[in-house]
């Protein structure tokens, strides 16, 4: 169990910054998920923490000890971190038990003690009796468990996961997700968990770090990330947020302000201290959009209506901004059809803070 601190960490490959000026403080026992589009530097960040890559600048501390800075780096074998790779990385020439017991053998632990620990680890991941199998003869989910057991057996102070569920089918994913949560609860280990699956991150993590092009763009609790995205990238990345240009008409008052969007006025949530400004953006989600029952709202055209059973997904383009596409769900009875005219209303939204303001 250890606290992990990343302090202005940058990693460049040649002249390309894969990770840029990232600072994160992961508390002892915290479950941190790292989320971001493909190629944003998640894996690189993890490999920096594990010590497989050297930082270009900045500092990494585990449990108070500096393990990486531009001056040097503690080898991965001396960091006491456990890591579970996306492709499991089980050694094909060893049995399951040998795979799990590897770190104990390297540490020259007494044979009997080691055997007991391996048994315990196998029991922990529900694989009793499979110790003699080869990894090649296991199913995907079982391999995942072996990888988990292998990383846990040495009781690491910090466990790193790199998209551990990406190769599993949907059902297995759900059950492994539960197991990870249970494991975290039971052991209280500090965990850094990389994924590109938002629901997974939301379900598991205490906090989520969103990365984009090497930078940390937001670090927040799942609820805050959803309701109060810090910038346009997070807003559109999380749950397919819709971005609309707005003019802020009033200053913030008890967490809300008035804005004009697509020609109509509405009240949205906002940060304290917001002031009137032009060219701002608001974020709303499909649940925030409904058909207008009165004269409020804005007119437009239904581009596409896709019936999805119980409700239809409507893609709508407002008259005031014909290039925009707003999507929302209309429950049965569905009345809108392709090409129909309609009037919509936005119930609420979130005013995205101006660029450059701290979060």
């Amino acid at each position: 169990m250890a606290r992990l601190t990343l302090d202005h960490v940058t990693k460049s490959f040649a002249d390309f910054d894969a990770v840029k000026d990232v600072s994160i403080d992961v508390a002892d026992g915290e479950f941190l998920a790292v989320l971001g589009p493909s190629g944003c530097g998640k894996t690189t960040l993890l490999r920096l923490i594990a010590g497989f890559e050297k930082v270009t600048s900045g500092e990494i501390r585990i449990g108070g000890d500096v393990v990486s800075n531009s001056g040097g780096s503690v080898g991965p074998e001396r960091r006491r971190v456990g890591i579970v790779f996306q492709n499991y990385a089980l050694w094909p020439h060893m049995s399951v038990a040998e795979n799990i017991g590897y770190s104990l053998k390297v540490a020259k632990l007494d044979k009997a003690v080691a055997r007991q620990k391996v048994e315990d680890a196998l029991a922990l991941v529900n694989l009793q009796g499979l110790g003699e199998r080869r990894p090649a003869n296991l199913s995907g989910g079982q391999r995942q468990r072996v990888a988990l057991a292998r990383c846990l057996v040495a009781a690491p102070s910090l466990v790193l996961f790199d998209e551990p569920l990406a190769n599993l089918d949907v059902h297995l994913r759900a059950s492994m997700e539960d197991e990870f949560a249970a494991f975290h609860e039971r052991t209280g280990t500090t965990i850094v968990y990389i994924t590109h699956d938002q629901t997974e991150a939301m379900a598991l993590a205490d906090r989520i770090a969103v990365m984009d092009r090497g930078r940390l763009v937001q670090l927040a609790r799942p609820r805050d990330l959803y309701h109060e995205p810090a910038n346009e990238m997070v807003a559109s990345f999380i749950s397919q947020g819709i971005l609309l240009t707005a003019d802020v008409l009033t200053g913030e008052e008890s967490g809300h302000c008035k804005v004009r969007v697509l020609g109509s006025e509405l009240v949205v949530r906002c940060r304290p201290g917001e002031r009137p400004r032009a060219g701002a953006k608001i974020c709303c989600r499909s649940a925030d959009i409904e058909i207008s029952a009165d004269a409020s709202g804005f007119d437009g055209l239904v581009k596409r209506a896709v019936y999805q059973g119980g409700a239809a997904r409507i893609e709508f383009s407002p008259k005031a901004g014909p290039d925009l596409i707003l999507h929302f769900e209309q429950p049965d009875p569905v009345v809108l059809e392709n090409g129909a005219q309609a009037r919509l209303r936005i119930k609420s939204g979130w005013l995205i803070p101006a660029a450059g303001t701290a979060f």
Binding site: P76, E77, R78, R80, H93, V106
Partner: protein, 567 residues
């Protein structure tokens, strides 16, 4: 419509039939003929040939020697090749591609040239040792004329072969497997011993099998180093018997060549059996592991590597060049004695030598040209063809190259000793029998790169042409050939380089008027004219290096691994 279907089927059938005929003629026929000679010499089932062979003590001595140098050379090659592969692939050593180029170079040099170069380096007449006055007195025995000398040179010659295979295996090692071990607390040497090397055993064993086959089939090195010490291995025993007895002893040598073939096969089978028990297919594709930082050991390791290069490549070649500049045996090289007379002599004056250059050049060009022409359609059938039996063709093309060269040479002799039936054409004692053997033996060198070329091409390119209405032959000419041409041509150039200074096959097949470079070099050396032999070697090595440079120009268009010396 039916006629069109028939037409396209027809073209494919013509292609398949032509490929089958070529392969039967070049690969299966000689092997079958050889087997017949053992089982039923003269058409009657008999075990006489086998019994006679088994009774002769020379057979047993040569077999023992073959095994000793074969296993010794293999061990040395595996140890050195694996060590260099690990250092080059897994550490942060500098100038990697230059190192690889230099280390692999001996593979491109004919074994007898390697042998000659080393002999010149350490012999009492060594111009190199004489430069420092360190040469042993004239008349002392060259230390390389010995079992350990042969093993040493076989190891030097085939270490690069092991290196290439192990390096290819190491490149496919996913970094996660190494990293998982390091995260588990293992230091670099533990990872090497418990993860990397065990995972590489299939590669290492395949490399060992290949090195073993090459060592037991090698003729040049035991011919130059063993014959003077009367240390005979099976290939040199066959050579001596044929040189002394002519066609009369062909039956006897057929038995010996099958014996070598069986030893080689035993090596391959042993590898098959062992690797079946350890099938670690590594499936994931990933980046290779971060190189291990040697830190303050880096200069030491680097110096060691370059020292090795100097020992196995630079010094021998340097010694060879020095010898080619000395006017006669045992004369020290000084500014005054240095001369280019040897070059004038072998290139323009000595009849057999000039003829040999001419013969070897056109034989190599013809073999390369033919192989490229054949490799494209045969590769097409093997890589993209639908018939499964075509893949068997692939195996039978590999055979004449996988088996030691003497085996094919003896088979060709048996096949063409008498005029070809029906036509009355006589190949025996002409240069054509050498050409036949070259075609059969080297075809696979062009076929392999061509097949990997096919695997890299998106089949849709051909299908698009097909949809556009092009028949098979049109597609071959306009689409397929241009696409695989670089790979096939690179294969052709490899054949040219290999055939140019080839000795094993031509030593048994040559006749007066059809000498090859290798044969004349060998007879110069046997006659004590090492200076001329060295001069011819320098010329062929220079041609080979020049060709390597030319081939490099093709590199951007080639699949990885086609040019062994490119990293």
């Amino acid at each position: 419509m039916p006629t069109r279907i028939r037409e396209s089927r027809g073209q494919e059938m013509v292609l398949t039939a032509a490929a089958a005929v070529v392969i039967v003629l070049l690969s299966m026929l000689p092997m079958l003929r050889l087997v017949k000679e053992i089982v039923a010499p003269g058409g009657i089932l008999s075990t006489a040939a086998v019994e006679a062979g088994l009774r002769s003590p020379a057979t047993w001595i040569a077999t023992w020697h073959t095994l000793v140098v074969g296993i010794g050379g293999t061990l040395l090659a595996v140890l050195s090749g694996t060590l260099v592969a690990v250092l080059v692939s897994l550490t942060d050593i500098r100038c990697r591609s230059a190192l690889v180029l230099c280390y692999v170079m001996p593979l491109m040099i004919a074994p007898q040239v390697t042998a000659l170069a080393w002999l010149q380096l350490f012999g009492p007449a060594s111009p190199f040792l004489k430069l420092f006055g360190a040469a042993p007195p004239l008349g002392t025995k060259n230390p390389l004329y010995s079992t350990s000398g042969i093993i040493l040179l076989l190891g030097v010659q085939y270490g690069p072969l092991v290196f290439l295979l192990v390096r290819a295996g190491l490149r496919k090692l996913p970094r996660e497997l190494v990293e998982a071990a390091r995260a588990g607390g293992a230091n670099w040497f533990t990872v090497l011993a418990t993860i990397v090397l065990p995972l590489m055993t299939p590669s290492i064993m395949a490399a060992a099998a290949l090195a073993f086959v090459s060592c037991v089939g090698n003729f040049g090195i035991p011919a130059f180093l063993g014959i003077p010490a009367n240390y005979l291995v099976l290939p040199t025993l066959i050579y001596q018997k044929l040189a002394g007895g002519g066609p009369a002893v062909l039956g006897e040598t057929a038995f010996l060549s099958v014996l070598i073939g069986m030893i080689a096969m035993a090596g391959i089978l042993a590898q098959e059996v062992m690797s079946r028990r350890r099938d670690y297919r590594i499936s994931s594709t990933s980046l290779p592991a971060e190189p291990y930082e040697l830190g303050r050991w880096r200069p030491v390791v680097q110096a060691g590597m370059w020292l090795l290069i100097v020992l196995v490549l630079v010094l021998p070649l340097f010694g060879l060049v020095l010898t080619s500049l000395v006017p006669g045996y045992g004369i020290a090289l000084t500014a005054k004695t240095a001369t280019l007379d040897n070059y004038r002599f072998v290139l323009f004056e000595h009849d057999a030598a000039t003829r040999a250059f001419f013969n070897s050049f056109w034989l190599s060009i013809a073999a390369a040209f033919f192989a490229v022409i054949v490799a494209v359609p045969v590769g097409y059938l093997i890589a993209w063809g639908k018939q499964r039996w075509v893949r068997l063709l692939n195996l039978s093309v590999e055979l004449p190259y996988a088996l030691p060269g003497v085996v094919l040479a003896i088979a060709s002799l048996l096949l063409f000793l008498r005029p070809i039936p029906l036509t009355g054409i006589q190949l025996y004692n002409t240069v054509w029998i050498i050409l036949y053997a070259y075609l059969a033996r080297f075809l696979v060198l062009a076929l392999r790169p061509t097949i990997s070329g096919y695997h890299q091409i998106d089949r849709a390119l051909e299908e698009a042409a097909q949809v556009a209405g092009a028949g098979l032959f049109t597609r071959m000419r306009t689409i397929i050939f241009p696409l695989v041409a670089p790979a096939a041509v690179a294969g052709g150039l490899l054949i040219f380089m290999t055939a140019l200074s080839e000795l094993t096959v031509s030593a048994l097949l040559w006749s007066s008027g059809s000498e090859t470079i290798g044969v004349v070099m060998f007879s110069f050396e046997q006659g004590g004219d090492s200076n001329y032999a060295a001069t011819m070697s320098v010329v062929t090595v220079a041609v080979t290096f020049a060709l390597m440079l030319v081939t490099n120009l093709l590199a951007p268009h080639l699949p990885n691994g086609v040019l062994p010396w490119r990293d």
